[in-house]
Symmetry: C2
Subunit: 389 residues, 2 copies
């Protein structure tokens, strides 16, 4: 676990996003050895896994967490209830029910798998409220992030603020955060206070991460440090995955060391996922990319491979700086992608992803030495990171 | 306690703000008998009390809650810490400390006074975290409300969003809400889970109230129901005061009935305060009013006396509708104030305020039968409601 991580959990500032302290992108790329079925390698990248176990685990997590979520949302005052049900995809804007996909339930599944890994079926059964609370916090942060970032679509649907206005989207986010912590406060499980403190701490960390992200977007590309961008990405993508795993551990009565290792496992896996996602965003097949290919590059966004390319300091980086300095003239996305690759951004990102997954595996082995007990967490991590560039 | 109150705590929708279900404003004005030194009458209104005891209680609450607040804020990641300290008025925007007033600490004082009333000094001493948590939630809602309402000043200072932008103000509000609930989750006091659940519930209620407030502002004046406006005002002003008292009771080991009575006491007193504040806003001396005299009327805002005037259905109400239908021609604020008064809005509001204070006293007597033990809560309520039109 990187030291920035420890710092962010104890309330220290994230590294300043701008500066001249870029890590040499060539220096950190290490290809880890294979461990079990996780993070199988292909050409330095990450190969897909089929993940039928993960699909089963996700379905089961939904079956366990959804009734708690629905009951919690059902207890909200009318207008907030309707907004929340609509945002979860469970209700049309006219109040009629929707039968369909309410998202992948990755975070609830991690809570339940971590509880099961360390405490067996009984611990898993006791952690349904915690699983629902983590999902509520996730949804709450999405609602507010979309307002702040002015993002107009999420999960292929219009974002809440575009439909309801900023005020109701802010109120819905506030409501879901409070609902998450009320669920834990009302949970008689002995682990619930510690879980609530950790979840609240995660919200604070996510807010600091969103603030750092905004600051990073304002930096000139060549001024973004790789350490700063990595730390920020780890918080933004990894903090809640780490908390989900840690909270599952708490509900299994895990030791402080085990909980810390579960948190680090989730964070490292989250950062690996983010790196792979960034690679797909620039070099992936359009049909597999999460957003239109190159949209981030076109918008001048500084994804991790792009930051690494700038930090390389080689001639291709100078050429890239020229391309980024002329907004509106970025029509040739293939040329940008090639320049980032020539500057070493792609190799760095793939090496980092592999490195992060190796670290995730080490942390998981610390938390759950029995490979069979760790199977559920492994399968979910494979599922999250199985996409490949 | 009005039934809308009970409904809102159990998650039922607030009454629709618009409709034709206006209460006859003449029917609810009752002048209560004097009880102790609270709510002394003058011309149907509420006379000032000196409140040296209240000033002492507020100073003491600050002395007890501020160290907890400062330690909690000090634990935040850097940028969020600076934003929060600035919003609390404890730090300049350049990070240098401010020695000065950080607000009146009414809510922490109510938590501590309620704990002392039912559990003596020991309960009071154990409730400092809870007092700080309630203040953090209050500050969190102010940060977000200012963003949503586009209010530009608060406590004679520019609001956070005008200085930091919407995104950081939203993040700071999210952070303070999480910090409040983390404080309670980490409090080893046996009452902390129940207090956390109640505080989270209060946040949910405040969000529903803010939503209803926005809906009310969109209604044509004649369509706003008096029941809807009263219920909304009770939530907006009373919910957190009620929760502060209830949480203090929980920390004193009070029974469910006592806690419910403390909650109702705070809510009724809060609504009385709001009614008095509305009267001052229209008819008060400019130097005593919280905002420029008549600013609310000029902006077309539907304060409770104005809603009551519309609901009266008498000829002055029809005249008022004509005045409100022509925005930009409201130059003659004296004429509007006189028309609201002729329609019965002022008498109704003063009668309602007296009625609500009588109800508050009844609830306080239920919760704390010993008048001496109730002295602190009485003094604080006097302080809050002592301003007079």
């Amino acid at each position: 676990m990187g030291e920035f991580l420890t710092e962010s959990r104890t309330g220290t500032t994230l590294p300043a996003p701008c500066g001249q302290r870029g890590t040499d992108p060539g220096g950190t790329a290490e290809v880890p050895e294979r461990r079990g079925s996780f993070g199988t390698q292909r050409g330095g990248g990450v190969a897909p896994a089929e993940g039928p176990e993960a699909v089963m685990l996700l379905d089961r997590a939904r079956a366990e967490a959804d009734p708690v979520l629905r009951a919690a949302l059902g207890s909200l005052p009318g207008p907030m209830r309707r907004i929340a049900l609509h945002h979860f995809g469970w209700e049309q804007s006219d109040g009629s029910p929707v039968e369909g996909d309410s998202g992948r339930a990755i975070r609830p599944a991690l809570v339940l798998a971590a509880a099961a890994a360390l405490g067996g079926p009984e611990a898993r059964a006791g952690a349904a409220r915690a699983a629902a609370a983590v999902e509520l916090v996730h949804t709450s942060t999405l609602l507010h992030d979309d307002v702040m970032n002015r993002d107009t679509t999420r999960r292929h649907r219009p974002t809440a603020w575009t439909v309801l206005g900023d005020a109701d989207a802010i109120l819905a986010g506030d409501t879901l955060q409070a609902l998450a912590l009320r669920l834990l406060a009302q949970d008689p499980h002995p682990a619930s206070p510690a879980a609530a403190a950790r979840l609240a701490d995660c919200v604070i960390e996510l807010c600091a991460g969103q603030h750092a992200d905004t600051a990073l977007e304002r930096c000139a590309p060549a001024e973004v440090t790789l350490d700063g961008a990595l730390a920020m990405a780890e918080v933004r993508t990894g903090a809640l995955l780490g908390s989900a795993c840690a909270i599952g551990g708490l509900y299994a009565g895990a030791s402080d060391e085990e909980v810390a290792a579960l948190d680090a496992f989730g964070r490292e896996a989250g950062l690996a996922f983010q790196l792979i996602d960034d690679v797909i965003g620039i070099w992936g097949e359009p049909s597999r990319a999460g957003e239109p290919l190159g949209a981030g590059v076109a918008a001048g966004k500084k994804s991790l491979p792009v930051v690494a390319a700038f930090a390389s300091g080689n001639p291709a980086a100078a050429e890239l700086a020229g391309l980024y300095a002329r907004p509106g003239e970025k029509g040739d996305l293939d040329h940008i992608a090639l320049t980032v690759e020539r500057a070493g951004g792609r190799d760095w990102a793939q090496g980092q992803a592999a490195d992060r997954m190796a670290r995730a595996m080490q942390q998981l082995a610390r938390a759950v030495p029995d490979p069979e007990a760790a199977g559920g967490l492994l399968a979910l991590t494979e599922f999250v990171t199985r996409r490949t560039g």
